[in-house]
Amino acid sequence: MGAARKWLVIAVPYLWLLVFFLVPFFIVFKISFSTTALSIPPYTPVFEFTEGVAGLVDKARQLTLDNYLWLTQDPLYLRSYLSSVWIAFVSTLLTLLIGYPLAYGMARASRSLRPLLVMLVILPFWTSFLIRVYAWIGILRREGLLNQLLTWLGVIDAPLTIINTNTAVYIGIVYSYLPFMVLPLYAALERMDESLIEAAQDLGCTRLQAFWKITFPLSLPGVVAGSMLVFIPAVGEFVIPDLLGGSETLMIGKTLWVEFFSNRDWPVASAVASILLLILVVPIVLFQHQQSRQSEDGR
């Protein structure tokens, strides 16, 4: 390909992502330092490029850390961050516990059955997230299907309260993100050479020992990739805590949403987003590093 064409192939998506992905982050960052105002848009702009250097210096004096100080003063924010990370962490662990046996079973299925099983994992991923969360409301409600079933079976006398609790949020996250965990796990397990485990067993390992010494370490890239794909978006999740969680459920995605849409405090919402991004930078970089290494290994 000619140099001009190469330049074009790179420049078009590059510029698009710069304008619509990277620049917006800087705007968020910028607005997080501005003052809340009762206007539309509801903040005082930090600086305009048209005002020249003098204007810049003048505006720089107006920069404020108030929004960040505010985040440290109201315990709501700190608790939201901590609880988001905790909920995402527990959910990731639960997803791994359910996803691993499923991926393992799929990888050991007969060669002809595997494409169908993979398809069955991918299909729910294509159906709407909102719909899948909504489906759980009908199941978990007080008069919902789960309580009906348990009462009918005689397991419980009074209906359980699951909806609008953190338990419902865990169920929602595990359910919604399960395909993201299973696919990388399956990819790692499917590639594995079965003769390694046979060799380990010949050398006197029990099946369980062979699993912990051979299978699990070899599937670690899949475990890491799957966990990142679940953990990172789960920390900032909004739909699940909003629809399935209750007043006790504190998650930062919901706090940001309320700050923005109900309180109309854009600078504070921007500060909330900036800190969230800061928390997620390490896992995101880790994820990217692994992704680009994998795509280079594939060649």
Binding site: L22, V28, Y104, G105, L123, P233, E237, G253
Partner: protein
């Protein structure tokens, strides 16, 4: 891996898939419930589908959603395919690290951050929030999914085919269009479909970037769901599930067929030698 399928394996697969599918199956069943009480079975009825078709706000939202999905999926496919070509063909260029970072980061970025940042961008450049801003936002996050899907196909593509065409006098662009593109076409189509459904599904980013008169279907569903579960919403969800399932299954059958055909053609070409 190819071992014995033990009882434990079978049980974990069956339990896993039951967990994945049971809620969706129940939702579909209860969309045919005659009773207004969503969780009490009152006999079979299709009345909620009729209600759904008479709900004009819902239909307007559906029309907005399909227009957004069509435009943004198409734009995202072009941009995402270019990005995939750039990432697989050019291993060294200035800012490659930043570029690959910007392609992979949106895959895991929490939607509230993407939505908020795009909205603030639109306000900063003084762009009114309309259906167009939703299209721009959806194009941006779905092009990265397209790039990943197409890239995974491109890395396994044998470049010598394209080089051979060029050696035989084919101009580079024509070689790409006539040799490479047909081979990666299934991935490009899959990318388009993925972008389309991502746009169809999105609630959070659309809520931030859309203005009045551009309410999408997920936004409409969400505002009704907050008021309570209704069989009418079950009906809407069932239609969407049916649409997406048909599309995905059809695409995978087509994909498989084209793969079989290609393998046969390759085998024949080999036999003739």
């Amino acid at each position: 891996m190819n071992g014995r399928w033990s009882g434990f394996n079978i049980v974990s697969v069956v339990v896993g898939f039951t967990f994945l599918y049971l809620p969706i199956v129940l939702l579909v069943i209860y969309s045919f419930n005659a009773s207004r009480l969503v969780t009490v079975w009152g006999g079979f009825s299709t009345q909620w589908y009729g209600e759904m078709l008479r709900n004009e706000a819902l239909l307007a939202a559906a029309s907005v959603t399909f227009r957004v999905a069509l435009v943004s999926a198409t734009a995202a496919t072009v941009l995402g395919t270019l990005a995939a070509v750039a990432l697989t063909r050019f291993m060294r260029f200035r800012g490659r690290l930043l570029f690959s970072g910007m392609v992979f980061a949106p895959l895991v970025m929490p939607e509230v951050i993407t939505g908020l940042s795009l909205l603030l961008l639109f306000i900063a450049i003084d762009l009114d929030r309309t259906i167009v801003t939703v299209m721009l936002a959806h194009t941006t996050f779905s092009m990265c999914f397209v790039a990943v899907v197409v890239q995974s196909r491109l890395v396994t593509f044998d470049r010598s085919l394209e080089e051979a065409a060029q050696d035989l006098g084919c101009p580079p662009l024509k070689a790409f269009l006539t040799v490479t593109l047909p081979v990666i076409a299934p991935a490009v189509i899959a990318g388009w479909m993925l972008a389309f459904t991502l746009s169809l599904d999105d609630l959070v980013i659309a809520s931030f970037t859309s203005g009045s008169g551009a309410t999408t279907l997920p936004m409409r569903i969400y505002s009704q769901v907050r008021l309570g579960v209704t069989p009418e919403i079950n009906a809407v969800c069932t239609v969407l599930i049916a649409l997406v399932t048909t599309g995905v299954v059809a695409a995978s059958i087509l994909n498989k067929r084209s793969m079989v055909r290609r393998e046969r053609a390759e085998r024949m070409a080999f036999d003739e030698r």
